[in-house]
Subunit: 152 residues, 2 copies
Amino acid sequence: MNDFIPVYVMGVYMTNTLHGLTPVVIISNDEGGIMPIYVGMSEGVSINSAANNSITPRPMTHDLITSILERLDANISSVFIDEIKDGIYYARLILNYDDTTIEIDARPSDCISLAVRTNAPIMVHSSVFHASTIREDEMEGMMTLDSFVNSY
Amino acid sequence: MNDFIPVYVMGVYMTNTLHGLTPVVIISNDEGGIMPIYVGMSEGVSINSAANNSITPRPMTHDLITSILERLDANISSVFIDEIKDGIYYARLILNYDDTTIEIDARPSDCISLAVRTNAPIMVHSSVFHASTIREDEMEGMMTLDSFVNSY
């Protein structure tokens, strides 16, 4: 457990990559280290919406997941981002249910989107965090997802 | 219950709308009536991937939902598309769990994506179906989501 670092979502931004303008979730630890996680547009919108406590007219997919968990009396105790392999991040969703702990393989974007909705801790393996951090000046030129969406 | 019509997913297509090229799920009933449901790109990809039984390297969000349900011993007995209000469709996910039935408010796109993954029946209220059907020739010019994606 000591190998995992608690992190927080700083925000969702748009950044230029080789594949064009892409949403990126910026997470940060207590010491101000920042790490980008590239996500799909709908995942970015979903995380951004939860981080801003904005309410959508109809439940988004991750809102549906939290409704399902609530109705089945399960809750998310934490999420873990464990590993990067060939540029793909691996993560786990940890559920408390009926006095047991259930671990489910998931993508970091789904885990983060659910953690932000339920205030569950987000833990990143220190090797993943240290391999992925960027300097603050590398965030220059990124615009928030909100300002990107509002520019349309 | 007699007011609901069982439908099947014919495929996911791309079609031109006022908002540009948009994914649309085409569903059909036993009599060959066809009804379009416009969805977001990620929902379209998710439904298409399940309809084609294609396996993605990492679980998509709806795969995560089916994993959660499986691990919590719940299953989807059916999904209902109930109503259109101001152009927005309302739907319900019906779960069997611990000898009880649980109904959860959801968007049709999430319901369809989950139903296709679990072979659960998709039921559309007859008033919604009859208000939404199109003629087969209105599908002219639509291209499958697969051919759209492969053209990139």
